[in-house]
Amino acid sequence: MSHRPACLLLVEDSTEDEFLILRAWRQAALDVRITIARDGQQALDLLFGSCPQAPPTEPRPDLVVLDLNLPRVGGFEVLERIRADERTALIPVVILTSSDDPVDCARCYQLGANSFVPKPVDAHQFRDAITRLGQYWTQSNLPAAP
């Protein structure tokens, strides 16, 4: 368990999904600081600078939760760029997507994703999956050494 709340970058274009994800983590009283990117480009800007919104004190996130189907720059490309840059190569990336296509899943792992979680449609299952995902990656799992 880290002494500071884990920093988490949530890359999610749907405001509805964002609401439901944040609600699930709030209900689970997850101790996290969450930054949100609405598309792939914003996510890259937040990770690699050149974004005025990025709080200067904000360290690199401990975890990236990444949707695949994103405007401007897609999830696959964001994942590739994260893995290609040594500053971010070790950050765990969890893919959280509407797709449960095995082809997408295989591709994500090939590109170096740490986990592939299809978003359940059913509200209970969705909350359950989001909660467990949050708990595992911010509490049970040690962040990568800097």
Partner: protein, 388 residues
């Protein structure tokens, strides 16, 4: 070549020659016509009177006059000219295509005294052949175009189904999630009616999710490359049977499989066929104990059919046609054992999936049933290259 008597001497031979479909002409070694049958008149337009004693050369188009000398040359050395295809000119000036065979004629002493020539008008023949070739090429092209269109349409359709299903899930998730939030956060303040309505929204959302998952399965199960291989039919069938048995709590009798003839197909897809047919066979057993028999037959063209027979609710001839359509169920909700979890989603997509798989193999599926008694589905998986 045997010596040939004078034509006129032999009335019998003359009759044969006269009734021949082919033009039969004889000429001297110098190319002067000595006999001219009736077909020669028809083919070349000249009467015997006009031709006897005349050089055959009048039939040759100007650019081919050299041919006659070469033919006569061969004849004089005792050789034949066989099925030589060339052009000649009729009396009316029309050019015709002919196939000619020319042989030397010897007298009783064995000396070459002339030549017999059999000519067949192949103009029409050639024209037919040419148009047939053209038609064939056209047909081939059309088949190719159509196949490509179909492949394209199929891919498009599958991509469309997948995309739509995925895209439909997002709003559905919102519907489900916000309904839950509404119930949790405001449930206490809602009038009883409103709570019921919210519950109904949730139920409808669940139903819709099931439908979308079914569509996704349909396109996923039937897409991808089709890999033909020899099928381990008994093993595939028993694997599916075990799955079905597990879903029903394992209280099923053995499934009788008798498949001596080899069949080719895509093992994964044929597994999906068995999953669906066997789960149906159990689901629609009605009050009868599920008894399933899998066997083979061979039709007139030696194609191997696989039959899945079960006792149960059955269906009539009309239902047998209908039930292959997506989302079509021919029994009332409480008839089949739809309560059995794990035996398909109960959407009416099972047989649509099976039909699509069979057709992708270039095969065919049929159903016959006796209402209240039994059902039988049979299919073959084509032979040659798979349709994509």
């Amino acid at each position: 070549m045997k010596p040939v008597p004078e034509f006129a001497d032999d009335a019998w031979l003359a009759a044969i020659i006269d009734s021949s479909e082919d033009a039969i002409i004889s000429k001297t070694t110098e190319g002067i016509v000595t006999s001219w049958n009736r077909s020669a008149e028809r083919v070349f337009g000249y009467s015997a009177g006009e031709m006897l004693g005349k050089p055959l050369l009048v039939l040759f188009p100007p650019e081919r006059v050299g041919e006659e000398e070469r033919i006569l040359e061969r004849i004089r050395t005792g050789l034949r000219v066989e099925h030589f295809e060339t052009e000649r000119v009729r009396k009316d000036g029309h050019r015709i295509l002919v196939s000619v065979t020319v042989s030397p004629i010897r007298n009783a002493a064995g000396q070459i005294v002339g030549a017999s020539k059999i000519a067949r008008d192949i103009t029409e023949n050639r024209r037919l052949q040419a148009s047939l070739r053209l038609l064939n090429a056209e047909l081939e092209q059309r088949v190719m175009d159509r196949t490509r269109e179909l492949e394209f349409a199929n891919r498009e359709m599958e991509a469309f189904a997948t995309a739509v299903s995925h895209d439909l899930r997002a709003p559905l998730r919102a519907l489900s999630g916000f309904t839950q939030a509404l119930q949790e956060d405001f449930g206490d303040h809602l009038p009883a009616d409103a709570s019921t309505f919210v519950q109904q929204i949730a139920t409808a959302g669940q139903r819709m999710e099931t439908l979308i998952n079914g569509l996704l399965d349909l396109s996923r199960n039937t897409r991808g490359r089709l890999e033909r291989a020899p099928l381990a039919l008994a093993a595939l069938a028993q694997t599916s049977w075990r799955t079905v048995a597990r879903a029903t709590g394992g209280d099923l009798p053995a499934c009788e499989v008798n498949c001596p003839w080899p069949m080719d197909g895509d093992p994964r897809m044929v597994g999906i066929i068995f999953d669906n047919l066997l789960s149906n066979a159990v689901k629609y057993a009605g009050d009868l104990p599920p008894r399933v028999r899998i066997y083979q037959s061979r039709d007139d063209s030696q194609r191997v059919w696989l039959h899945v027979h079960n006792q149960g609710l059955g269906f009539d001839a009309h239902q047998a046609q209908e039930m292959f359509k997506p989302f079509t169920r021919v029994h009332a909700l409480d008839e089949g054992r739809r309560d059995l979890p794990g035996l398909g989603l109960g959407l009416g997509l099972g047989l649509a999936t099976v039909k699509r798989i069979v057709e992708r193999h270039g095969g065919k599926i049929e159903a016959t049933g006796v209402p209240g008694l039994s059902a039988e589905l049979r299919f073959h998986l084509g032979t040659g290259a798979p349709l994509s």
